[in-house]
């Protein structure tokens, strides 16, 4: 095989696989821009382009309230788990104390453990405590799981941070908290952003936890309301397409701007699904 043939084949395959990844997404977008009453069979270009399906899906699916609930849950989870992960990762990454390694393995356990293995008692305990059908029923478990990943991630970052930075702060008499806040956090912004982006995606996209914790009488997350909407409108292809896009959109939007963080995070060290 000559070099140029090899190149052509390689690029051809890359284009082919990219199309395979894109085709279903493009198909859905095309479908969603059809009029809700149009007859859509297979793939077709909308004529005329209209956002009517989005509007109808938005209203009938109750997405304005479910998106707000998802935003509250996701934001709280991201903020709390980030703060706690930075603190724990800082200790594991820079300090020596008895049992640190063993304790770190305890956190690693949560990285691989399928959280299905905790959901049953969580539900029954939360129901007793009146936490089901509240945002906290979702926030608390998802924060705890995110801490397992976050601690792992931040420890790796703090271990790689130049010792000279910390030693300089130490010579200046900074406390450990001062070193963290004034020196390491500004330096670690990219690593923290990667973690934030991943936790955001996982929490926003989560379905099983909210399915178990929320009955739907009170509040719904976006993925949950999408599934409820689907069971009501099984045959309305345009509406379902529009609703699917609405739910996936926030993460996709962030992905457009921060895709390097998504990829770097998933590629280097994440074991969560």
């Amino acid at each position: 095989m000559t070099g140029s043939v090899e190149r052509a084949v390689s690029y051809g395959l890359l284009v082919f696989f990219s199309l395979a990844a894109l085709a279903p997404i493009l198909g859905v977008i095309l479908t969603a821009f059809h009029d809700p009453d149009a007859l859509v069979a297979g793939l077709s270009v909308p004529d005329p382009f209209t956002v009517e399906s989005f509007r109808q899906a938005w209203n009938e699916g109750g997405f304005s309230s479910s998106l707000r609930t998802s935003a509250v849950i996701t934001l709280t989870t991201v903020v709390v788990s980030t703060v706690l992960s930075v603190l724990a990762g800082y200790a594991f990454g820079t300090m020596r104390f008895r049992g640190a390694t063993a304790l770190f393995y305890v956190f690693l356990f949560g990285l691989l453990m399928p959280f299905e293995a905790t959901i049953i008692p969580l539900y029954f305990d939360f129901r007793r405590l009146g936490l089901t059908d509240t945002v906290w029923g979702v926030i608390l478990p998802s924060t705890a799981l995110s801490i397992a990943f976050g601690t792992f991630w931040m420890r790796a970052f703090f271990r790689s941070a130049p010792r000279s930075l910390m030693e300089a702060a130490r010579i200046d008499g900074a406390s450990s908290m001062g070193t963290l806040l004034r020196i390491l956090l500004p330096y670690g912004r990219p690593a923290i952003l990667t973690m934030v982006v991943l936790v955001f995606m996982w929490t926003w996209n989560d379905f099983l936890l909210s399915l178990v914790m929320l009955s739907g009488q009170n509040i719904l997350t976006a993925p949950l309301s999408l599934v409820f909407f689907q069971t009501q409108r099984t045959t309305d292809v345009q509406l379902l397409a529009a609703a699917s896009i609405i739910v996936a959109f926030p993460v996709l939007l962030v992905y457009v701007f921060l895709q390097r963080h998504f990829i770097r995070g998933m590629v280097s060290g994440s074991l969560k699904g």
Partner: protein
């Protein structure tokens, strides 16, 4: 497991820990506990304790309402003998082929082709290939349900090219429903495998290939002698990520088939969900959860081990 988890976590690679800590002399070393404590409390309360509690429930017959009764290993016996529970693990193994092996093979194929060239515009390809990973799985499931529907785009396309006899209600077919769900898993996962493996292959020094070529290696030998060994870490990460996702698959099954037709696409997580929250068999659900966790740990550990052995 720890090894698997830290594979590829490049930030810390190769930096030896120094003795002595960072805090100023005035601060006790025990301050470390204070930093870990808040995270540990939350993590313990909502992950560790419930996990232990699941273990406890798995030895009971419990409908979630009335008091539970101790039944010893009965639930575990049911997991391994009841055909309707056991088959969910078989289905999960089938899904591993689609979620893990097919993406791995596709990724290695692409990596092998790209091993000797530096690709232009790799960034855009990477962003596109990775896209299926970030779309909410419920959206993915709904979209593919439409694609695979009796009058959906796939069947329309088959009819259009004269293969109408192949058209079928993919998700309503006892034979084809599980592979169809698996294929969606392939779609979600193949880009991740490619991104990881291609990134890995681009780090292999070209001199290794030149050396192999001087030794008279053809493209196939080159792949087995140079590319494959150099990609060991990436392969471990791909396999661990994809197999655990396959074993845990729930969202796609729930949205696309609801375990059907019959129970032909039921998977462990789905059976766990119905057992605990629909049919009043919380003990059975808990046992499925524990077995699933053990399976995931064993497979992740096994993959890591295999790779380490290949090292020597």
């Amino acid at each position: 497991m720890a090894a698997a988890a830290t594979v590829g976590a490049s930030p810390e690679a190769g930096i030896p820990r120094r003795r002595g800590d960072v805090g100023p002399p005035g601060e006790p070393r025990r301050i470390g506990y204070l930093y870990v404590l808040p995270g540990l409390l939350v993590y313990a309360a909502f992950v560790l304790v419930p996990f232990g509690h699941t273990f406890w429930i798995s030895f009971h017959a419990w409908d979630g309402i009335t008091p539970s009764t101790w039944v010893g290993l009965d639930n575990y016996r049911q997991v391994f003998t009841d055909p309707q529970v056991r088959e969910t693990f078989t289905h999960a193994l089938v899904l591993i082929v689609f979620y893990a092996l097919v993406p791995l093979v596709l990724g290695l194929l692409l990596a092998a082709l790209l091993s000797r060239m530096r690709v232009r515009g790799i960034g855009s390809f990477r962003a596109i290939l990775f896209l299926p990973q970030v779309v909410a799985l419920v959206s993915v499931g709904i979209v593919w349900r439409w694609i695979l529907a009796p009058d959906g785009p796939l069947n329309e396309a088959l009819r259009a090219i004269g293969l109408g006899s192949l058209a079928r209600p993919w998700l309503g077919d006892f034979t084809w429903a599980l592979p169809s769900v698996g294929l969606v898993g392939t779609w979600v996962m193949f880009g991740l495998a490619m991104v990881l493996l291609v990134a890995g292959v681009q780090k292999i020094p070209l001199s290794l290939y030149d050396a192999a070529r001087v030794d008279g290696a053809g493209p196939v030998r080159e792949f087995f002698v140079v590319t494959l060994p150099a990609l060991r870490n990436e392969i471990v990460v791909v396999l661990v990520l994809t197999t655990t996702t396959a074993l845990r698959s729930f969202d796609l099954v729930y949205v696309m088939t609801g375990g059907g037709p019959g129970t032909s696409t039921s998977v462990p997580s789905y059976r766990l969900y119905t057992a605990a929250f629909q049919t009043g068999e919380a003990g059975l659900g808990a046992a499925i959860g524990i077995v699933l966790a053990i399976a995931i740990f064993a497979i992740a550990f096994g993959i890591t081990r295999l790779a380490e052995r290949g090292d020597q």
